[in-house]
Structures are given as structure tokens and as C-alpha cells.
């Protein structure tokens, strides 16, 4: 039998593995930072709820808001990934990399978050 897959795998550039590992490390670090911040803010919020001695209804409505924001997480990631992808595509059109590449990425990510913010405001109304 012809070993198609082995031949194809051997042709993959070793730099691809490196890029995958680099991206994995960066994503892990990003996630760690965001998780730490989230835990800290949650802890602060829960302490405030206890200190203020708010009613059970208000406390549950605030916690309900927390779970509602999780519903929008997929839209948020859609906006981030779409605009990052578009930014990378535009950057690819204007190689080599330079200061302009950073600008393109910053603008595209900002547009993504602006779109997400507009979506949230529309949803609140």
C-alpha cells in the first residue's frame, strides 16, 4: 500500500511546528492573564456584595448578569477572530512587516471590539 500520509507529513516545514508551539505558549499566557484578572474582579465584586449587604434579589440579578455575559462570549470571539484574520490578510498584502503592520492589526482589532460593543448596546436596548 502506498504510504500517502507519511510522505505528506514529511513534507511539512519544521517551522510550522515551531509556529504552532509559539502560538500555543502565547495563547496560554494570554489566557492565564485574563483568568487571573477575572478571578480578582469576581472576588472584589463578591466582597462588595457581602459588604453592602444587598438584598438576595439584587445579588442574584447581578450574578444572573454575569451568566448572561457568558452568552455573548461566542459573538465576542467571532468579532475578535474575524477582525484579526482580516488584519492578517491585509498585513500579508503589504509585506515586509513593519510599523504599518502593527497599525493595521491595532485598527482591525479595535474595529472588532467596536463592533462587539455596538452589538452589546443594541442587545441592552
Amino acid at each position: 500500500m502506498k504510504p500517502i500520509f507519511i510522505k505528506q507529513l514529511s513534507e511539512i516545514d519544521p517551522d510550522v511546528y515551531k509556529v504552532i508551539v509559539i502560538l500555543f505558549i502565547i495563547v496560554m499566557v494570554m489566557r492565564f492573564i485574563v483568568m487571573i484578572l477575572r478571578k480578582m474582579l469576581d472576588h472584589k465584586l463578591k466582597n462588595k456584595i457581602i459588604d453592602k449587604g444587598v438584598s438576595e434579589d439584587l445579588a442574584s440579578s447581578i450574578l444572573q448578569t454575569e451568566s448572561n455575559s457568558e452568552k455573548h462570549a461566542n459573538i465576542k470571539w467571532f468579532a475578535i477572530l474575524l477582525t484579526t484574520g482580516i488584519g492578517l490578510f491585509i498585513t500579508d498584502q503589504y509585506l515586509p512587516l513593519g510599523i504599518h503592520s502593527f497599525g493595521i492589526m491595532a485598527i482591525s482589532i479595535a474595529i472588532g471590539f467596536l463592533a462587539y460593543s455596538i452589538y452589546l448596546k443594541g442587545f441592552d436596548k
Binding site: 494570554m30 484578572l37 472584589k44 465584586l45 484579526t84 479595535a110 462587539y116
Partner: protein, 148 residues
Amino acid sequence: MKTTHVSDHDIQQFTFDLSECEADIIKHMHSCGACKERAESYLLLSNTIKDQPEPVLEFNLTELVLDQLPQSSNKESTYTYFIYFLIIASIGVVVTALYLLKDTLIHLFSNTTTISTSFIISVAMLITFALSLDLVRSFNKKTNMLNY
């Protein structure tokens, strides 16, 4: 000036909240003996109620409540130590792995150009910054809900 007697509500307002009382009522109260007498009886009643001693429970409520609270068991403290052990063990594993793979990790970034590495890192930082801002915005919104 009012010629008829004022209502109970007006007498109470005159007795306990003179600043909110109308001028007509004040004039009537100073001239009418019957209304003045009723105002004095309200004041007496109020002072008598204030002088009443505060009710005190015949048993020690604090002690009874404290007795009802569940005591922390040894099982829970063992569980806490186990969690600490797991945390320390996982940190140890990560540090050991980083130490053993340090040459590989350094080599990982050696072939990539500085500009491309900083490009990837800056994109990641931008996304992290935006996500953090989103978290802080959400936190502020919830804090505002608490204040109102």
C-alpha cells in the same frame, strides 16, 4: 387664622415637626387651649414611649446561634492541604519542564526574525488588553448596579 380645631395630623406635625407646619396652624395652636392640651398629651405619650426600657432577651442569643453553626472538621482541613499539595506539585512540574526544555525553547525563537516575533507578541498583547478592558467594563457595570 383657623377658627375650627385643627386635625390630629396637623397637631402631630406641630408637636414633632414644627418646621414643616403651616403658619395658620401655628397661630391656631398658640391661641387654642384645647388643641394645645392635645399637643401636650402627644408629647407626653411620645416621651413615655421613649423612656420605656429596651426589650432584652432572657437567654443568650449569640451563644445559641454560635452553637448551631457547623464546626470545621478535620476532613475539610485535610482536603485543603491536598489542594495546596496539588498546586505546589503542578508548579513544580511546570518549572521542571521549563528547566529541562530551556535549550529547545531558546532555539524555538532563534530562527524567527525579531520583527515577526514582536508582531505576534504585540497582536497577542492587543487582544489581551481588549479582553481585559471588556472584563473591567463588565465589572464597573455590576458595581454601578450595586450602588443604585
